[in-house]
């Protein structure tokens, strides 16, 4: 049963999906019908080590770096308007292939050029981010961005983290001012 998360919510995947090996992070929203620039939401994943920072710059998977160095995290492509039914962006994650150094995976969603376009999640219709169990397509967790992150422009949705042999999911729902760049720096990515 999918857990719908409001800010600060939490879910343990241990019972929801024992032996979880692969997940899909899905991001969806409705295209804009009112005037103004398109809403362009972007999903990204940070593969993080013990120190809370990315293992290397390639471990920041996003629209300009679609495959992690070990090939276990793969972004399926940038959707710039939200056109299309279901998830508009997806990132596939093979948990079982990750090295032991990878302690956590942080999932984030940002609005492209939010400050310049004066946009936030509340202006977007039906924006959500979710985590699916790839094996059976079941939704494990979901966050309603339009409703619960309404004045934010960038957000860390949650983290998958190792717990012994298993992976657990922690909901975070923490907003970030300034967008993807400061968010990536926060995880130790060198933006050059």
């Amino acid at each position: 049963m999918a857990v719908s998360l409001s800010k600060g919510g939490n879910v343990s995947l241990t019972k929801e999906a024992p032996g979880l090996t692969e997940v899909v992070v899905g991001l969806g929203w409705d295209p804009r019908v009112t005037d103004g620039q398109e809403f362009d939401l972007d999903a990204s994943v940070f593969i993080v080590g013990e120190n809370g920072k990315v293992l290397n710059d390639g471990s920041f998977v996003f629209y300009n770096n679609k495959t992690s160095p070990d090939g276990n995290v793969v972004h399926q492509g940038d959707n710039r308007s939200g056109a299309g039914d279901g998830d508009d962006e997806q990132v596939n994650v093979n948990l079982s292939g990750l090295s032991q150094e990878a302690k956590k995976l942080a999932f984030a969603v940002t609005i492209h050029e939010a400050d310049g376009r004066k946009q936030n999640f509340g202006q977007v219709s039906n924006a959500y981010i979710r985590v699916l169990n790839k094996a059976d397509g079941k939704e494990l967790a979901r966050f309603d961005l339009s409703e619960d992150a309404s004045t934010e422009t960038a957000m860390v949705f949650g983290e998958l983290y190792r717990n012994g042999e298993e992976w657990k999911f922690k909901a975070i729902g923490q907003g970030f001012a300034g967008g993807l760049a400061p968010l990536a720096s926060n995880f130790g990515v060198n933006l050059g």
Binding site: V33, T34, D35, G36, N120, G122, S125, E147, S150, T151
Partner: protein, 191 residues
């Protein structure tokens, strides 16, 4: 004390004013016209299902159709010059009477004959929408529209919407350059 919303923000009316059922949605603006022609802004409400569309033409409440079929939404009348302080137009909503299949009510403002009169929202200042609790006349929430919208001639100011068992209010402030027609069409009305 009224809560002030910024664009995209939302708040729970059920939490801010527990037990409130009778709401007055007040809309106001200052219009500055440079060519002497009347500046006639019209407030409307659209009763929408969960899919964001009206059920029928009767779900479009405006100056020529002042009351919804079930009496839940009532427009208090057309103000053609913007005269008078405070709300320029007001729409009453009885939340307890809104039919179960109506998920949202969108509050919009359009400029009458905008194209013919060559008018747009760029000439409108100090636009606001507010929620007043009719039981005690207190202002519960307010959204002051700050941005210029110079190419738009129809604007969605805000929405009242259901979220589970609650009623919430969301500040929208988004519009259409083509006026009432694309706005109404986006809600499923056909011309």
């Amino acid at each position: 004390m009224a809560l002030s919303l910024s664009k995209g923000g939302n708040l729970s009316l059920s939490k801010e004013a527990p037990g409130m059922t009778k709401v007055l949605v007040g809309l106001g603006w200052d219009a500055r016209s440079t060519d002497g022609q009347d500046f006639d802004l019209d407030a409307s409400a659209f009763l929408l299902k969960a899919d964001g569309k009206v059920r029928a033409d009767s779900d479009f409440i405006f100056y020529n159709q002042l009351k919804s079929v079930d009496g839940s939404v009532e427009h208090t009348g057309d103000n053609r010059t913007g005269e008078g302080d405070g709300d320029d137009e007001a729409i009453k909503v009885d939340l307890s009477k809104v039919p179960a299949d109506i998920d949202r009510i969108a509050f919009t403002v359009t400029i009458h004959e905008a194209d013919a009169r060559r008018q747009n929202f760029g000439q409108v200042r100090n636009a606001f929408i507010r929620i007043v609790n009719q039981d005690n006349n207190s202002e519960v929430a307010r959204y002051d529209l700050a941005e210029d919208a110079s190419t738009e001639t129809a604007m969605i100011f805000a929405e009242l919407y259901r979220n589970g068992a609650e009623w919430k209010f969301r500040a929208v402030g988004q519009g259409f350059a083509g006026g009432l027609k694309p706005l109404a069409e986006s809600y499923g009305l056909k011309f």
